[in-house]
């Protein structure tokens, strides 16, 4: 039912939000247009491009393939929460800058979220493992090489004890 509404509570980047949403409200639309966290981008709305990837309880999900109501009671992390409160970039964000891993920057939030979760699971990946993990995120500008280099570099920094 399109007009059926639900009360939900979600935690996004450590802040708690309560809202009433239509059953059909996409999580991506909820984050962007209701919570005004517009850093999460929408590229295809059919789950292929990965631009809208956010972390749900730490795992990457496509926010265009989920309803907001499905996130009820869960913790979300988005691009807005990656840098520290004082504005320091995460090792991966910093490495993307160092290696020119972004051009138009539209796919970048999804890539940062996907690879942030990946590096938590595997902080010593091979290039092939990075490419495999990245292959669900489409980038039309960079040809991926500089993103791969950025992820490998960030992994090294994380191993060396960067936050």
């Amino acid at each position: 039912m399109a007009d059926e509404s639900h009360d939900i509570t979600v935690e996004v980047n450590g802040a708690s939000y309560r809202a009433t949403v239509e059953a059909r409200m996409l999580l991506s639309d909820f984050l962007r247009h209701e919570l005004k966290l517009a850093g999460t981008h929408v590229g295809c709305e059919h789950g292929v491009c990965g631009a809208c990837t956010v972390l749900l309880d730490g795992a990457p999900v496509r926010s265009c393939l989920m309803f907001a109501v499905q996130a009820n009671g869960h913790e979300l992390a988005t691009i807005e929460g990656l840098a520290s409160a004082s504005g320091d970039l995460s090792p991966l964000q910093a490495a993307m800058h160092e290696h020119h891993g972004l051009q138009c920057g539209y796919c970048t939030p999804g890539i940062l979220m996907t690879m942030t979760a990946f590096l938590r699971e595997n902080n010593a990946p091979s290039e092939n493992e990075v490419r495999e993990a990245l292959s669900g995120n489409l980038c039309r500008c960079t040809g991926y090489q500089n993103i791969v280099d950025a992820v490998l570099d960030a992994a090294g920094k994380i191993r060396a004890g960067a936050p």
Binding site: A38, L89, H100, C104, R131, S135, R140
Partner: protein, 782 residues
Amino acid sequence: MTTRFFGAPIKRIEDKKLLTGRALFIDDVELPGMLHAAFLRSQAAHARIKHIDTSAALKREGVIAVYTANDLGPYWQAGPLLVPPPPIPGIVFNLRSHVPLAKDTIRCAGEPIAIVVAESRYIAEDALDDIAVDLEILPAVVDLEKASKKGSTCVHADLGTNVAAHVHQTKGDYARAAAKAHLTIKRRFRYEHGISSPIETRGVVAQWDARAEQMTVWDTTQAPVFVRSLLAGALGLSEGQVRVIAPFVGGGFGPKIFMLHPEEATLPWIAVRLNRPIKWIEDRFEHFVATTHERGQIHDAEIALTKDGRILGVKDVFLHDNGAYNPYGLTVPINSQCTLLGPYVIPAYDSTFTSVFTNLTIVTPYRGAGRQHGVFVIERLLDLAAHELGIDAAEIRRRNLIPNDAFPFNNEIIYQDFAPLQYDSGNYEPVLDKALAAIGYHHFIREEQPKIRAEGRCVGIGIACYVEGTGIGPYEGAKVQVRSNGKVSVATGVGTQGQGHFTSFAQIVADQLGVDVTDVDIVTGDTDRFYWGAGTFASRGAVVAGNAVNEASLAVRKKALKLASDAFECAEEDLVLADGKVSLVGVPEKFIRLGELAQRANPMRGAVKPGTEPGLESTQYFGPPSGSTANGVHAMIVEVDPETFQLQILKYVVVHDCGTVINPLILEGQIHGGVAQGIGNAFFEKLSFDEQGQLLNASLADYLLPTSLDVPRMTLDHTVTPSPLNPLGIKGAGEAGAIPVGALFAQAIENALQLKDRGVEILEIPLSPSRVFELIAEGNKA
């Protein structure tokens, strides 16, 4: 000019906003009371509209308005001719421009029929289903060859033909060249380019301020200045009443320069009528049919050569799929026609094309913009010739390269910028040598390939050359202002879609004005900040806008030195401009800061002398007489699975020459991205239509873009031959990576599978594992 920043791999200034989710993209624009639009698009490719019933949609709760063509009244106009055809003798050009909403006839699937305006996008899309459209379906014109034949259904019935344009250009006398040739080779080539597929689709937000009588439009356009001018004209407003802002744009690659897209034309009109802001964001399914494509050409081409492989001439007759309307003129087929000539001495050239209307989405330039098609034809002809004559593929290319002392080299025919196709400068052989060395060409062929083949593996090598006309006019401009806090503001009219303009332009300014690159704030694509210019296309941003930024910076530099010499009562030659201040040579403690000079340039008392201007600022323009020509060579080693025909790129090399380099980091990124799109074009991306003109693979799950597993690590190198056509010596690089990749794939796959020995030739792009399988099966049958 000191070179602290220019030429250095400066990391991008714009990155931080993009990395933290703070950059403003079109769908991030939120305005109080904003409405949302959805477009009802035709599912039929060719039809007559008999009746549209919008009454049910209007009754739906939350729907504010529904518009059809008739509701637009006199605002319903066909768009203007955007790019006039070049002045070529005997040219035929039949303009049929697109309209904001289909009124009587639908000429391609995806053409908009009605607009729903509602309180939310969800409701607007719901209401599209409420609209009943009664159509009389007409036969669709889809096949390019059939469309060009007499007796075909006409896309534009009033025209009586599907010929959109006919162009014949010649250089020398091909018939005479062919008569004395040792060998002529003729083949039919098919080349299709796809849809640019930026990860951000298109979008428009329009806001009308009824009190100020001011229109503000946020638009994912590559050409905000032209959109502003066209909208002002259409709406009956002065240009000063319309502000177009291209915010951060998530990739363009060509189609975002088309205008006025129906959504760009109609949303501002609706904003005035409803006196509320309104937003439309294209979804991906719409993007596949509502944003322009590039698509295909069929070439019947012939090459005439001497026994030792020197080209005597080329003759080419080709058909170009123009789609349903042609306001963008002939840029794509003219580029194909001109770029075919490549880096080679081709004494005789006879080229004819017919641009054909079809019931398919409009064709406009997409990264490479027809150049791929031409490069494919000449490179394949050379490969065929090399095989026939028993000459190595690299060697036949070397023998035909334009020699170093032949520049400027006039190819005589007319290019897309209306100027004769004259290569301004170049030094081609070192580029070929570097590419051959980097790929290990001779070693691979003599040593590695035989060994790997002996193991039963199929590995092959390819090498392809190209020349790209870049950086065409007419002009761009820039305004450079030193603020009283010492920071420098720069505004230019081009839009930006990821090319790094915020950094590369800042590098130019920083060196001229002796400031840090982070003290330079660049504004692109806001017509209230800079209101003249053409836009970002044809690999021209760095060349044309970059030089305008340089000219304006130079003028400000002169002003600063003049002001300081007055203040210090010394000669300008005794001053040095560095670290944000002007100081006396040899007396560093005697200085005046740029910010203070800016204040002095705007005095409270006294007089500004006649012939001078207040403010430490300048607006300058730059227009090159013609485009500067970049060149390059790509080389690749591939392994093809002989059973599945899956392909793995083992090594990829790009060596190119785009003149002076502003920022090697940004340049490499442009090349990487271009090659990735070239790989998509060569082996992944094919727009598949059925006989009714339906796009069968209109989703990213079906139209495959290359992923991180498909695009290899690349080895890049470059040579520098500065262009004499602009003070900075720059040539464009935005499209270079994408141009020769199709030709390279065909050659390398043929080589890997030893197809020549099996009587199979690859004469088409795009390929895919299944297409290679089919070609071999067809060859076996024959």
